[in-house]
């Protein structure tokens, strides 16, 4: 066990088989039937980060090609190489050569395909068609609307959903067992809260916490991921919206200084709560706008201390305006 303590868990526990992928049952069932029949159309996987798109593509290749999967599978990340020349050179080169070891076709997995320029996508569409005999394409993207229609028209589209509570829980339990960790229920809740449906984030949080101790509790999870607990965010907002600037300011300082939580992270967490919390709709919109202003100014390089204080002050003012 200690030997591979250097391994990154997201790789160590990346499902090797389609059947091991959690939370995408419908999609996995279809992909398995492709393997059974030996046929594969071009595919387009859409969905946010950490929901299993890459894992599904690699697992699919393994099941199609067995031992020789490395030879017949190529993974390219379009956001590294986004111009038309990649399509015309690298992709075409791989697609046109015959499959090896008796496979009937190869698979090219193009990750973040929405980063390709429209020109490059246009060239890609033809390559997909011309070499369909020797090569099937799996494209993955966050937003399918950024993929040009002619390509969507050539693919079967699979929408990967953000992972639900149960899927994350199941996987965390599985890993915890294998690593002989004891993990408390509230720690799992914390991981689910932090992950927001992203399995990579969840596993990273778990591995981070496991470095501190083999017995994982909620506190460790929040500490290692530099995330505020939901109740801390609630406290901050409660005080601001009650008009208690001093109280809110103290909580803010604690979170930023003592806990070392990044301003951006804090903004994101506030955003998530504000969207959900019962509030006058007009006030909600104004508060979110205030958050946006702060986020924007920080992105322009403004001083985070001043901006975060101003944010809280703005919250206080807005709550007064809407309560009168």
């Amino acid at each position: 066990m200690m030997d591979d303590s250097h391994t990154i868990w997201i790789e160590k526990y990346r499902p090797q088989k389609l059947a091991d992928i959690v939370g995408q049952n419908e999609i996995i069932e279809r992909l398995e039937s492709y393997v059974k029949s030996g046929n594969l159309p071009h595919l387009l996987f859409t969905g946010s980060a950490g929901v299993g798109k890459t894992t599904a593509a690699v697992a699919l290749a393994r099941e199609f090609f067995g031992e020789s999967w490395h030879m017949n599978f190529r993974e390219l990340n379009a956001s590294d190489e986004r111009g038309i020349d990649v399509v015309r050179n690298q992709i075409k080169q791989f697609a046109r050569t015959s499959p090896l070891e008796g496979a009937t076709f190869k698979i090219l997995f193009l990750d973040e395909a929405d980063a390709l320029t429209p020109d490059a996508q246009a060239a890609l569409r033809r390559t997909m068609e011309s070499y369909a005999q020797t090569c099937r394409f799996i494209l993955s993207c966050n937003y399918s609307s950024k993929i040009i229609d002619p390509i969507q028209s050539r693919c079967a589209i699979y929408r990967f959903r953000a992972l639900g509570r149960d899927a994350v829980k199941e996987e965390i339990h599985r890993i915890a067992t294998q690593e002989s960790l004891t993990i408390q229920e509230d720690a799992i809740d914390a991981i689910i809260y932090i992950a927001q449906g992203d399995m990579r984030k969840a596993i990273n949080a778990l591995q981070g916490a496991a470095i501190i101790s083999r017995e994982i509790d909620e506190k460790m999870v929040y500490a290692i991921t530099a995330t505020a607990r939901p109740d801390e965010i609630d406290e901050l907002l409660d005080l601001s919206l009650k008009g208690d600037f001093e109280g809110a300011e103290a909580v803010l300082q604690k979170l930023l200084q003592e806990r070392g939580i990044a301003p951006n992270e804090l903004i994101t967490q506030c955003y998530r709560v504000l969207v959900r919390r019962p509030l006058d709709q007009g006030l909600r919109v104004a508060l979110i706008d205030q958050l946006g202003v702060t986020d924007f100014r920080l992105s322009e390089g403004a001083n985070s201390e001043i901006q975060m204080e101003a944010l809280i002050a703005g919250f206080v003012m807005l709550s007064r305006k809407y309560s009168s």
Binding site: E26, N39, L40, H42, A122, P150, I288, D289, L291, F296
Partner: protein, 499 residues
Amino acid sequence: MYHYNTNIMILVMNSASSDIIYLIYGQSVDMDWVEKYRPLHLEDVVGNGPAIRQMLDWASAWNKESRPLILYGKPGTGKTSSAYALARDMAWEVVELNASDQRTKAVIERVAGTSSTTGSLTGAKRKLIILDEADNLQGNADRGGARAILDVIKKSRQPIILIANELYDLPAEIRSRCDLVQFRALQARSVAPRLKYICSAEKRSCSDIALRDIAEEAHGDMRAAVNMLYATAIGRDQIVEDSLSTSRKDSRSSIFDLISGIFGRTDSEKLLRMSYEVDETPETLAQWIEANVTHLKDISQVTRAYDSLSRADEYLGYTYRQQYHTLWRYATALMILGVSDAAGSEGIHARISSPERWKRMGTYRKQKNVRINTLHSIAERLHMSQGTVKEGYLSQLGILIEKDPLGYAKEFSLDADGLNMFLHDKAKTQGVMKTIAAEEKAREKERDLLDKEAEKKRKSAERKKEPAPVQSTLPPEPAEQEPAPDEPKKTQKTLFDGF
């Protein structure tokens, strides 16, 4: 409604020259259905009757004076298939170029240039040049490509078909030299029978409802429909409605749910979740929301809605300026929650409108392209940047052009759209363009005539130099010999004319 008799399939199997056959026999398991069931003959192409007839008329009347065709329309409406089917039906060879080839001038000229000008004199075997994705020429990688296409069109002695999704992405110089053939989105009721045919050919049982669902989901895109069918059918013997939950083309229908949610009584969290599921960019969402703001009753509501929309729009600006995509969420939240607040959950009582802007987009796109192309050709002629022309010379040029449209249209090689940009008078523009076309035709005729004469002179000169060997050593070549009897007469006449 649509009859597929088995003869067609047999015909396919029999035509030994087809690559497809080989594939059907050789790799029937792996071939995807779009390729496998691509129509081979024009009569098999589903829908777009007028376009098909126009192509047939063009091909059967084709001569060296005929203009190239541009087939344009949405993906999956049968453009490429029809071009190939036409070639097959006419027994023409095909030379194809597309955007995944490096489309620099040299390449186009090498491939298309040779095949378009050389051709046997007797015209026995024509070559159809197909330029697929002709609208994807922008960008540095294709530098010179448009000009090369233009050259090919001008010089070609062979039929040419250009294929494009967006007509107005083609340079005006090319458009004005071609005849246009529009391919329209297919009706679901003509897509479904084709799917049914494929199912029976593949021995899959399928419910009519499932097929209709697929046909509708495809939004007039036959390829998408067949792909969906294929993706759904792999590993299954029967296709029913339940099989369809995944593997479909992206559906845009839920944007309607989102819009009615915004105007109705839906809580914020759910609205934002829906906005994510709709999977449109925030810009598109903003356009949809804006299109429906007008349904609000009270002017103060409309004002508040626009306040939120414009604030959201500012965030979109920040997002792109900073390349910091986290800011997107504020844009989305403000446009959705802000407008929902303004609407006050009264619900939407009119039909949900799609963005006005989309309807106008086609025209905008055309106007923009006209402006760009015109500026480009004027700037080139005047050795200035397009910006300089636009800022300092455009209005003055307008006055000059109005005074002498014909002269300046020729000077700047303006096309009808470009000229009309200055004249704002369609009738007048057309008159000028007619004059130019007539002049050009006359010039071409003259040039052709000169070419022919020069050729004849050359030939007769050769013949005169060594008449004996040609006759005696090369008897077994009837094709070459055929025009011989006419030759002396023509030569005589030419010589005579010359003097």
